[in-house]
Symmetry: C2
Subunit: 392 residues, 2 copies
């Protein structure tokens, strides 16, 4: 059901001919039919933010939007004024096509694909036209939209959650270039709850900080990351703030987890949990350092519980960032304490790595109990294949 699980939304995903992959759907449209048109967004902090990010980041400041046009097959990043004009033209065209009182200012735009090329604008327009005719709120439409935003993803990623009298659904794409502070990911979450723009924005910001900001496929931050939350108010239910924030967080976490599960070429999902830190920031810095180790990621691909590559990464975190004594640190891999007080613990031969998920639990033993978890993927031959062959 994806983005149409919640009431008040229609969607479509169509083939417009932007993507060079034969038959690949490449334009998705999501329309909020109200009564509310609340919208919130979180975007990449990359300084080469793509034209659609520059545009949508500005538009979302109003707290309102009625439609989102998303294309795969081209990022429209590093395309200068001409690229920005393409976004304006797309929003204008979508508003004209959808009519129903929708103006260009009500339309958000997101793109994903290769950096540095203008979009084939006629194909984008064609996609919008086709999608506008197919708008629906059934599961087929929801699935087509989730497919249309995919690039190197191998499967659509969606979520549906039921709250206390209201619903929330969503879709995400993202597989490579996934790193702290978002990722090459485009995510649309919809809800029929009655919420204010402020609550929507706060809930989304908090949720992304603990979900999309804590996954790292390959340490590469994208120019196009976009996470949108649209609220229609169609349920008529005004949820408790805490409950709403919790549901947004759950939607983001479940979608983020699916990105890791579909990481480019990956064979293992790696959970890196750091406990016993003085602060959450310290725990997070340690988890990120370990998650970014190519050597560790290769070892996990080889089913090798190489804890030396865990601690050598941990040891690169400056003391000022995370206080700990290396002689206190323990590392458990899949339940086996392979490193105890900075020294060899139980034999690594005891560790089994047959499952896709690998749990690495690090305890800094500082005497405090702050914690953070980051998810990453292993680094495989297929990752290199995919990224060496990806069309220039």
């Amino acid at each position: 059901m994806s983005v149409v699980f919640a009431d008040g939304f229609v969607t479509a995903g169509v083939r417009a001919g932007i993507s060079s992959v034969e038959g690949k759907k490449d334009v998705a449209l999501v329309v909020n039919q109200g009564p509310l048109d609340v919208a919130a967004g979180v975007f990449t902090s990359n300084r080469f933010a793509a034209a659609p990010v520059q545009y949508s980041r500005e538009r979302i400041k109003s707290g309102h939007a009625k439609a989102v046009v998303i294309n795969s097959g081209g990022a429209n990043a590093c395309t200068g004024d001409a690229g920005y004009q393409q976004v304006l033209d797309t929003a204008e065209h979508a508003a004209d096509t959808l009519s129903q009182g929708i103006t260009a200012d009500d339309v958000l735009v997101a793109s994903t694909g290769l950096i540095g090329e203008l979009l084939p604008l006629d194909a984008v327009f064609r996609g919008v036209d086709l999608a506008a005719k197919e708008l629906a709120n059934d599961s087929s439409a929801g699935c087509c939209a989730a497919e249309a935003i995919m690039t190197t993803d191998t499967k659509p990623k969606t979520v549906e959650i039921t709250g206390n009298g209201f619903k929330m659904g969503g879709m995400v794409k993202g597989s490579g270039m996934i790193a702290p502070q978002l990722a090459t990911m485009i995510c649309v979450i919809t809800t029929d709850a009655v919420v204010t723009p402020q609550l929507a924005q706060n809930a989304l910001r908090k949720a992304t900080e603990k979900s999309f900001d804590r996954i790292d496929v390959d340490g590469c931050m994208s120019t196009n990351d976009t996470v949108l939350l649209l609220a229609s108010g169609a349920s008529g239910v005004e949820p408790d703030n805490a409950e709403f924030e919790k549901l947004v967080a759950e939607a983001c976490t479940r979608l983020a987890r699916q990105i890791i599960g579909d990481g480019e070429g990956s064979s293992h999902d790696i959970k890196i949990e750091v406990n016993g830190a003085e602060t959450e920031d310290a725990a997070l810095a340690c988890a990120r350092a370990v998650a970014s180790s190519n050597l560790l990621k290769c070892a996990i691909y080889g089913n090798d519980p190489n804890w030396g590559r865990v601690v050598s990464s941990l040891g690169t975190v400056p003391s000022a960032v995370a206080a700990f004594d290396p002689r206190d640190v323990t590392v458990d891999i899949n339940g086996i304490r392979v490193c105890d007080e900075g020294k060899p613990g139980q034999p690594r031969e005891l560790v089994t790595m047959d499952e896709r998920e690998v749990d690495i639990i690090i305890d800094l033993h500082t005497g405090m109990n702050e914690t953070a978890t980051v998810w990453t993927d292993d680094l495989t031959l297929d990752y290199v294949h995919i990224n060496a062959d990806y069309e220039s």
Copy 2:
């Protein structure tokens, strides 16, 4: 000639049986016969510094040393008090074996190999005994020593430079886990110049900052990085400070360049030069960000001049670290301006990447002209093979 190119040194490299690779030489000994015994060292900043690093870092503070024992086949890192005792025992054993007025305090120790296992100390002792008998100052001895310190290196790496009346030689090992702030590398540079410990230390620190600190094979900092400079004074020539510093810098740069040329599984050496920055630190931060992009490194492996992956990495550098306007940035790959003022420039099809070396030149166009260069390797199928299969 390696470490015996300069007068006053003897060396040997032997098979002791520490390395699990059949027939692989695994113990090297370098002895400074004087008349001076000046020594300087630069070590990893990893907080899980290996036992030999902890020991040698302490010893080098005296500014003097007469011998270095190096083993491959085991890092003696994360081995606790027992590992530290192994270093003390090794130094003691080497002093006893070499005699000639050499005490344990005169002996430095360096190790490389797998983290988290104690060394087979009897094999280390046997290696020291064998090497002590084979000490010589001919090119065969120099080559054997350079071979004995290798791990995943595919070839020995040495340098010989002649100064104004004095000589300098050196050897280095390092292939993976090579990252900013040194690398899994062990380097010994020798000279017969007459220098003070202060000059030696200053020259070595400055040289490593511009050489070994500016290469990055895989973003992984080692627990065992050790760079040593030994001066025998045998030439009787006291060089000009500036000339001496220049030669040490040249030796380090040439050895660092060889590490990149032998990066694990690599098929391209990638030079990332950032110009037009406000400060050298800003240029360096930009170069490091680009050098650490797995996506770019995969693209280069695929002979794809994917400048989108250059700018998306550049865009992750915070404004506070490096001021620049994305709309001013140019990127040249092998002489073709593929990105001009943040937009597509000349067609990327014009770029040829047949040569091993790939030059990426980024100009931030801030109006200032500070610059920095970082070297890295591409990310290949062989890199993943090597690091997934490396014995746990």
